[in-house]
Symmetry: C3
Subunit: 394 residues, 3 copies
């Protein structure tokens, strides 16, 4: 029973609510988007015939590799709703059988193809679990979280990557971590140009002879747009942050007119000249963490309060040994100096932001400043160009 004498909660500023209407779809997308490709597990994690459960955008799913090709199917038996993965029983290459009553599903189309406890059931052939198209690229297993009409194909994976990611001879090292925050707080942490303030003491800066301002900000009285929205021929849609070009880098932080903190000048290597964020949630930092490399990172919704942070160190290295040689370089230098030494800070920052946005009231109560214009542009883009909003399924 509720308290019969409850105090009324204070109302929210209607102007703020009105502004949010222009990126309403983004606020709704707590679980991400539909009808787009998300990277999930690494290809090497999927062995032939060994289904692996995982969570994507609030859905419990299974991946399985059959004759080399990967399939994705719901992990919830249609009958009584139990997870098939609770006790995996695969009696043929293409199928998984529910441990409870023997309902058997084909990975290729999700079809209920047999029931071991009742081979005469009329349900057989008449029901199907949700399946999703799967593709693999650069060592990642991509899942297309959406429906594809009979006889149609999903769009190519490329559409939902950042430009250049799929380039020939681009070698990719993947480092996937669970971050306990909403995926949007991940994406905004990565794209937000002034968040680099948290990296001011990163060991990457002296370690790789580079420099990093404390932040970039628009010039006083700025009337220029600080970003560009682009769509590539491959259909990729994203925002370039132009603060590095059109804004002012600040290398000294002042309090009360006194300089109190200075950016470390570790050397003259120029990094991060172009920063862009692409649908459905992948950041590109070019070049980074070295003039020879490009950094990509994905924010993949797992549920309302956690995402996969898929960190991709990449470099073009031609030749048959390219992958192995980049792998050695990554393990020797970059894993510590960059994946940990730089990006570990982003993880606790995202998690520290979560409580304020837990119930989505943060979108109303935050107070943005000038350089956040790029984030607003991203929010609008995401609201306008998505192919559907993911919601909790039953």
């Amino acid at each position: 029973m509720n308290d019969p004498t409850q105090v009324e909660k204070p109302l929210v500023d209607p102007d703020v609510v009105a502004q949010i209407k222009s990126w309403k779809g983004y606020v709704q997308a707590k679980l991400g988007f539909r009808n787009c490709w998300y990277p999930t597990l690494n290809s090497e994690e999927l062995e032939e015939g060994k289904p692996v459960p995982f969570q994507l955008a609030g859905e419990k799913l299974l991946l399985n590799r059959i004759d080399g090709k990967v399939y994705c199917m719901a992990d919830t038996c249609l009958h009584r709703g139990v997870p098939l993965s609770e006790k995996v029983e695969c009696y043929s290459k293409e199928t998984i059988t529910c441990w409870y009553h023997g309902w058997t599903y084909n990975f290729t189309d999700g079809r209920l193809c047999d029931i071991l406890t009742d081979p005469n059931s009329k349900m057989i052939g008449q029901r199907a679990l949700q399946t999703y198209p799967v593709d693999e690229a650069k060592g990642l297993v991509f899942v297309f979280l959406g429906e594809v009409a009979e006889g149609k194909e999903p769009p190519p994976v490329e559409r939902d990557t950042a430009p250049g990611f799929l380039d020939d001879d681009r070698r990719v090292r993947i480092f996937r971590r669970v971050v306990n925050s909403d995926w949007r707080l991940g994406a905004e942490n990565g794209f937000d140009t002034t968040h680099i303030f948290i990296h001011k003491n990163s060991r990457l800066i002296p370690g790789n002879q580079t420099m990093l301002p404390l932040g970039f900000a628009p010039p006083p009285g700025n009337k220029d747009k600080l970003w560009d929205r682009v769509e590539t021929e491959a259909g990729q849609i994203g925002i370039y942050d132009r603060l590095a070009e059109r804004g002012i880098p600040h290398f000294e932080g002042k309090v009360g007119g006194e300089t109190v903190v200075r950016a470390i000048h570790g050397g003259d290597k120029r990094l991060a000249e172009e920063i862009s964020l692409w649908m459905p949630g992948v950041l590109k930092v070019d070049p980074f963490p070295d003039p020879t490399m490009i950094h990509f990172e994905w924010y993949v919704p797992r549920d309302e309060k956690s995402h996969w942070y898929i960190h991709c160190a990449t470099k073009i290295v031609p030749g048959p040994d390219g992958d192995e040689s980049f792998g050695r370089e990554y393990e020797t230098i970059w894993k510590d100096l960059y994946a940990h030494g730089f990006n570990d800070d982003d993880i606790w920052a995202r998690e520290a932001t979560q409580a304020f946005y837990d119930d989505d009231s943060g979108w109303l109560n935050e107070q943005l400043f000038e350089s956040d214009e790029c984030l607003i542009a991203w929010r609008k883009l995401a609201s306008e160009t998505n192919h559907g909003i993911q919601t909790r399924r039953r």
Copy 2:
């Protein structure tokens, strides 16, 4: 504050909702039923004058044995709502005194008979805690969860047991466990004939020279009823599952026409010829786990998400040493081979089903098949014949 831009949830098929109306009472009975007997602790757990707290159907209760007879009373002081059992203070045989302000209740009628801090209070004699009738049988303490009118008696315990349980010379070994699922998922797990698929590798099958099909299913084109509803002279109401007689046992499981799994044939002992489920939630499997024994199991609601699984191995053994001799047999053979070796699997199966039914949406979203006809019959019976539905009390 709510997200001002919340997406609407998908609606549920109205046909499914309509069907559920025919067993609405069962869906409501998340905490079980009222005005019926439930088994609780074992008689031997209740020593003279040592009150024991427990939880039944969402209520916090106390059992206490006084001059040999067991009484059941609410464990929540009327005054400020604290649990009496937080610090037991019994100053006379028939009473318990609240540790906080000395309110004292008589176990026989729940009456507030004294207040040690204010012997003149007008409350004395004018208030009473809820009490429930108690009976003991076969080593179980039964509580009648309901009101009994002045001068009336509750029905005999027998009404709420399965036939035969109280037979003379029937020896009973009780094994009680907490299972983290709704009691209904316990009852349906036990009664559902095709769930035996999970027992296909049970060590009981070879260990006791028996066999168990993978499942029983109705014959193709079946028009016969697969169950019988019965009411005994003692007022017991239950459903017999007739799939063993009228259905087809399947000893081979096929995927794509190939036999992929075969039931183990451990021997020719015939078991489980009659399976029946009785109000308010007790299963009888006759004979089981041996032609000389009958298995009974109760699903007793503790709260919305857990039940007591009260597993009773029974056998008729006449004579003064019958109980001791069956006790030795149970400990030597059956506890491992059957209580653990067979029924442990039921526990994790029930717990794996819980998430889907947590908020009761599972009743709308499940997809039942032919052999579940027996479950539907049970659900209707439970909706039609219960004597009241338990709800959270204040």
Copy 3:
């Protein structure tokens, strides 16, 4: 989705609801009151320039000592809502800088005085974090949880203490603990005269040659008021419990006419002659635990389900060594015999009461008795004289 067939919950007695209307404000004050002083940390816990986060009445706050004076400011950056204390960065004595984007706030007025990543932002000087007035007295840091109009001062701390607490030469030993109950259950535990039943075996009674009845109760047929509401010249508002004078102490507890428990008579020292409870939640027991001492205890709301129990042992000890000498006495004798030996029992009692009041239905379902008249008087006083009710802020 909700259960489509939900059972209706039983209704509450409208007479009880009507009665609660007379102390509605108290039921609303789950997080305490606004516009009043609460004690928080100890002065000695605040070192110069070392901000400390804490929680008061549902708010996340910071305390910091600057040039000896303590300031209190919200611990939530205005920009993206992160806790400033997640990683403390103070670049000048008066300020704290948000670790995320360099927003910098002045502790004296909460003003956003600089943004290190964008010194030209128009936000600078235009926004401010909530600050609260702070004062220190008797080793406690008091925070005024409310707004003070421009050019005005908050009331003196004295208004929100119990009379005598601030007396010259009164030495105070503070022992602060977190108790997992609503602050109101703390206040009512302390003030309620019959709760002393829980202390009947306290080692303080024989240890300090005193006695304690099992309870005080109104005389039969009592028509006298059992309490006095007072307001002091300093504006302190409180209730004196007069049960010790106008009621009957009971030294024997009877069940069924038989004496079953007797109060321990440890000696003739007279204690606790006056018990009073003051806004916004501070108890005074005079004298206690010794004829030479006065006991004060505060119940400071942290959140809806926990409070700080600030236990203050006090004694008038004149002279320059007074504080040190009382400190030795407290550590040698009173910490064990009284702070633990007596008041530890109050802590588990409050926590045992919490579940019944968790959702505030306890206020409707409790059943009070004659001596609770003092509690009702307190509830009305708190409803009528508070300066505002605290609610969750955003």
